[in-house]
């Protein structure tokens, strides 16, 4: 029964992807990548939250809570909830910059503002490099979910089917497909999380009190170093969340500043699913259920406490979470190559070029999920170190600051190298997140670069709020 439910949901997602193509059979590259900036509030909301809460959230949050208690809960939830107020102010400005420059990708903003091909290429390469592990992680999460079913299917078949599905969505209608499928995915995911959480809460009432036995999550308290790490990580990631290449690309799909800003108000409420995931982790820990790995906590609790048909629904929700995020990442990487790195392609070539890049990326992710997942997990830890390094440049664009292109590239490279070097060298600065150290260094270099050139006679986007009504 669970298998039937699972297959029905996946088929429904394909039907929705087909529906999203309606009226857009002849897409140009702008429509393919950013829906020609036509998305209203509902689609933009679901695209944004759909791409935020990946399979990593559904499996990773209970796993992290199960293993590391409140220390994990604090940093994981704090940065997401603070990213929304940052985005409330920052995102409309970024959207405006995109409109002013007719941008498809984050790298377009840099090319237009700094007038430098080198800056554009550096920003595109930085984004691609740090996005690479995402595909692998989605496949790894997908396998963790589907292996719970005990299907006698080789893992490479599962990852290939998933990759073909994601490619099919993207090839059908570009960004419209993950946006429309996100609606189904988010409804399903909320149903699955609430069902598993409520079942865990009810079942917890029958468990003996294990607080004295060290089984209680509340007993795992953060150390002073962990607090410093959490506080600095929250700052880094709340900023990084808003300037990540895929986030910026999704902003460009919005129809107006008003829609972009208004959506940020509701997004924190979407996080109310996390108490349910906390109950799942709490039950898994207190019940002492056997787990192969902490990542299995969510599925193990669901399989143990929910009826069979619900298991299929939960697995389908998790699978859709992986596929929607995978499709979104593909659509962020594709134009960074075909539009920014390979200059001079026609509109049609950019679109087909991106599809080739996406196919190669999916293939690479399948191989790495099978053979190099450990490396990718380490790489993923550094994701925010890299994507956040574009923030000083973005602020320079919004403030209409003239900065030497050499300083922009130097700041980016220094920020990346310092963050990654501190992390890989295991150099501890009192728990301060290495990415934040890199970011401050990067900003200092950029600021120094801006002192060398006079300001432009432009009205900064940051000051547009203050302009009188026309």
């Amino acid at each position: 029964m669970a298998t039937v439910t699972f297959c029905l949901v996946i088929l429904l997602s394909l039907a929705i992807a087909l529906y999203s193509r309606r009226g857009h059979h002849h897409q140009g590259s702008r429509d393919f990548f950013v829906a020609s900036g036509q998305f209203g509030g509902v689609l933009l909301f679901f695209l944004a939250v759909g791409e935020t809460y990946s399979i990593g959230s559904v499996l990773g949050f209970p796993a992290g809570t199960f293993s590391h208690g409140t220390a994990f809960v604090i940093w994981f939830l704090s940065y997401i909830v603070l990213a929304y107020p940052v985005g409330y102010f920052l995102n409309p400005w970024i959207w405006q910059a995109g409109r002013d420059h007719n941008a498809i990708t984050m790298a377009d903003l840099f090319r237009h503002h700094f007038g430098s091909r080198a800056v554009e290429v550096a920003m595109a390469l930085n984004a691609i490099l740090f996005l690479i592990p995402f595909g692998d992680l989605q496949f790894t999460g997908l396998l963790a979910v589907l292996q719970g079913f005990g299907w006698p299917v080789p893992t490479v078949v599962i990852t290939t089917v998933a990759a073909v599905t994601a490619f099919f969505w993207v090839a059908l209608s570009g960004i419209r497909a993950p946006a429309y499928v996100s609606i189904l995915k988010d409804v399903m995911m909320i149903v699955a999380v609430v069902a598993a959480g409520v079942a865990a809460l009810l079942a917890s009432g029958h468990l003996p009190d294990v607080r004295q036995a060290g089984q209680d999550i509340a007993q795992i308290r953060p150390t002073g170093r962990e607090e410093a790490f959490a506080m600095s990580t929250v700052v880094l990631q709340a900023i990084g969340f808003c300037v990540a290449p895929q986030t910026i690309a999704f902003l460009f799909t919005g129809r107006s500043r008003r829609i972009v800003r208004r959506n940020q108000i509701l997004m924190p409420l979407y996080m109310l699913m996390f108490p349910f995931l906390y109950w799942v982790a709490d039950y898994a820990r207190r019940s002492g259920m056997p787990l192969h790995a902490p990542n299995d906590a969510f599925m193990a609790v669901s399989l143990a406490l929910l009826p069979g048909w619900m298991d299929g629904l939960v697995a389908a929700a998790c699978a859709l979470s992986a596929l929607v995020v995978l499709a979104g990442i593909c659509l962020a990487i594709g134009p960074l190559v075909s539009h920014n790195l390979l200059h001079g392609l026609s509109d049609r070539q950019q679109r087909y070029g991106a599809q080739i890049v996406i196919a190669v990326y999916l293939l690479f992710s399948i191989v790495s999920a099978a053979h190099a997942s450990g490396v990718m997990i380490k790489f993923n830890t550094m994701y925010y170190f890299g994507v956040t390094q574009v923030a000083p440049g973005i602020f320079a664009i919004l403030a209409a600051r003239a900065v030497s292109p050499a300083a922009v590239v130097a700041g980016l490279v220094a920020g990346d190298l310092l963050s990654v070097g501190l992390y890989l060298g295991d150099i501890d600065l009192g728990g301060i997140n290495p990415g934040l150290v890199g970011l401050v260094t990067n900003a200092a270099i950029l600021w120094g670069g801006s002192r060398l050139l006079p300001s432009r006679a432009l009205v900064p986007i940051l000051r547009r709020d203050e302009m009188p009504r026309q």
């Binding site: 939830l77 940052v86 102010f89 107006s256 800003r261």
Partner: protein, 90 residues
């Protein structure tokens, strides 16, 4: 709110107009400042508060509460000012 401002700025000079329609400063402390202080800066303090609220450790419950309170802060900025801005139309 904006209608009132527009009436007052109509006959006046550019410098004055700019000052009058400047986005009010309270937006930032209310929209970002409050959540940041409550969620990030208060963490060391909250970590030392023991006990549970509705079954959650106090610090975890506090974070959950700020999912709603962050929305309230942003709503305040939106409804009291940003909703009325002409450049947000569309």
């Amino acid at each position: 709110m904006v209608k009132a401002v527009s009436r007052t700025i109509a006959p006046q000079g550019t410098a004055r107009r700019r000052r009058d329609v400047r986005a009010p400063l309270w937006r930032i402390p209310v929209g970002v400042g409050l959540p940041f202080v409550a969620v990030d800066l208060a963490l060391p303090l909250l970590d030392r508060v023991g006990g549970t609220v509705l079954g959650f450790p106090t610090v975890v419950f506090w974070l959950f509460a700020w999912f709603v309170l962050t929305s309230v802060c942003l709503s305040a900025v939106w409804f009291l000012h940003d909703r009325h801005r002409a450049d947000e139309a569309g």
